[in-house]
Symmetry: C4
């Protein structure tokens, strides 16, 4: 079955993305505890992005589990999603090194916005292939969380130059929203 290889490839890319991010935390040359202080914002941005990538992996996992067949269009919609996720380590490192400054927070939001859009496109392409009355379409439903995420990312980008910490807290809010278990969906998707 073709789906297995799509999942395996996505798993590989996501696993590497999540692990490459940690490389941005460069081993410090100093030997005392103070040498870790400049790494604190980098570490915080790492935690945030780790949770985001974890959420994407979780959602991707559930989405593909409900999928029955794959076509060329779905393969490319998936690669498109992985493209935006592959930029997350860059945006994370830049944001952490610059202590969540306005420009960096905005760029982080832009990449998160496009990743969320790519996920939305992937889910639409999957529904188009499986039919509006398929189990997959029912499982995706209205995708309320997905739409709220897009809105919050857009808001964060706009507000980043006003108050970058407020904008950053919007990213945390989106992450928390996804972490709260959504029993309805899990009941529908996980067999």
């Amino acid at each position: 079955m073709t789906k297995g290889r799509l999942e395996a490839f996505s798993d590989g890319v996501i696993a590497i993305i999540i692990t490459i991010m940690v490389l941005e935390m460069k081993v410090p040359h100093g030997a005392d505890l103070a040498a870790l202080r400049p790494l604190i914002p980098v570490f915080l941005s790492y935690i945030l992005s780790y949770i985001y990538i974890g959420i994407y992996w979780n959602n991707h996992h559930h989405l593909l589990q409900a999928a029955r067949h794959i076509n060329g269009r779905i393969l490319w919609a998936n690669l498109h999603l992985l493209f935006w996720l592959s930029l997350v380590p860059f945006a994370t490192g830049w944001m952490g090194e610059n202590h969540f400054a306005a420009t960096q927070v905005a760029l982080y939001g832009i990449i998160m916005f496009f990743a969320a859009l790519a996920y939305f496109i992937l889910s639409r392409v999957l529904v188009a292939h499986h039919g509006l009355d398929s189990a997959l379409a029912t499982a995706i439903g209205k995708d309320f969380k997905g739409k709220v995420s897009l809105l919050f990312y857009a808001l964060a980008i706009l507000l980043s130059y006003v108050n970058s910490w407020f904008a950053s807290s919007l990213y945390i809010l989106v992450a928390i929203m996804w972490l709260i278990p959504d029993r309805r969906i899990e009941r529908n998707i996980i067999p």
Copy 2:
């Protein structure tokens, strides 16, 4: 079945190649938007190579799907293909950093040429193993796109010192040619 591990290994290598390329976009030390400007050509070369690697993964996926059995010769033809693909991040980074200059564009073409040749060899070795009247042989067919790609790469190498931007646009053309869905093949290969 032996095919599974060949696919898994190839997936792993391709996933790492695609993610390693993004490491060439080094997190800038500057904090303002202008710090991103020197990264623009690196980013463009990343997009180009991402699409190329995506195409290879797609084609590899379809090719192996039609394969029934594997032998030592096929394993090595596959490793040969992965060898040339493993050089893509290097060529991509060098081309991006030097703003698509002649030498870099030529080297990019050379590596793409050999990768395409390696793919051609892999498909021939697979056909030799499965027989000319196998489903796999029918699915590969005359491999028109593969031959055009080789021609365009050769052209781009020759023309890179004349006009490196024209040569680069040949690479974009090849990518677009592969992105256009080829319904005939998909109908034949995807079950």
Copy 3:
């Protein structure tokens, strides 16, 4: 089955962690044997962490093998474990470069402590999902080694500023304890 993808993703992350650690051993610029001398403590810390990650992979392997089904809570408990393991290369590199100095040995212990805690949580979440009378719960048993490890890590953290080499030897002791085959568990878990 959903378990397969959880295992594949964990395998990917663990494989990358184990291989990224080796990157901390930077290729020296000197050409003589003496150029390798400063790498000796880095190499020793690499061996220690390699064994630790190997133990985690082994235990993870056995734990998941006994698992029958997966839910969202288990996915996140697993991601939580991988988070702490992803910090091991950083702690390893810093400890090696600073010749097992107090601060670095303490940080190593802290990360190992939280990784062990995360593993403990994962096993509890799995038991909660499978039931206290499941084969999985029987296989995990009282988890004596897990509790001793937590104790030893805590001890090593406390003692690192007293004698960092003694604290380091506690890490070696924990590793040896896990390497000694535990026939009872293997008989129970491996079918």
Copy 4:
């Protein structure tokens, strides 16, 4: 079946090792062809190690294919093999950067020797678990090539300070010996 995860993990590690090696070929800062000249020995050492890792993957693939069950001892023998292979990128980069000088060629041989030894141990542990009259034991046979490799590595280490190019050519010889298809084994192992 437990074997699948052992293979998947090994595939992951080997895929990363093979791709990490290419990172030793740093993108040069110069823009002309001459900037590539210092990379030539690095490139040659990359090709050599790529082929070696390819051979190991091939052999590992065949070995595990003949295996029926796995135990803790086999898991560790496998991790031991991967440990030595994980040092190959380091040895390769150092050898390439120093133009195949004596010390570097000797170190390369030492790591190759221990990798070959680890492979030998893995095959013995597998035979011990499957029985001397198992299909696996028959397939491994007398392991003539494995023994010759060990001998050649030892020779190369001893001769590296006499003539490092001669020692290097012994590595090439071993690689060629493994590349020559061994129809007898393939007939026995591949079903």
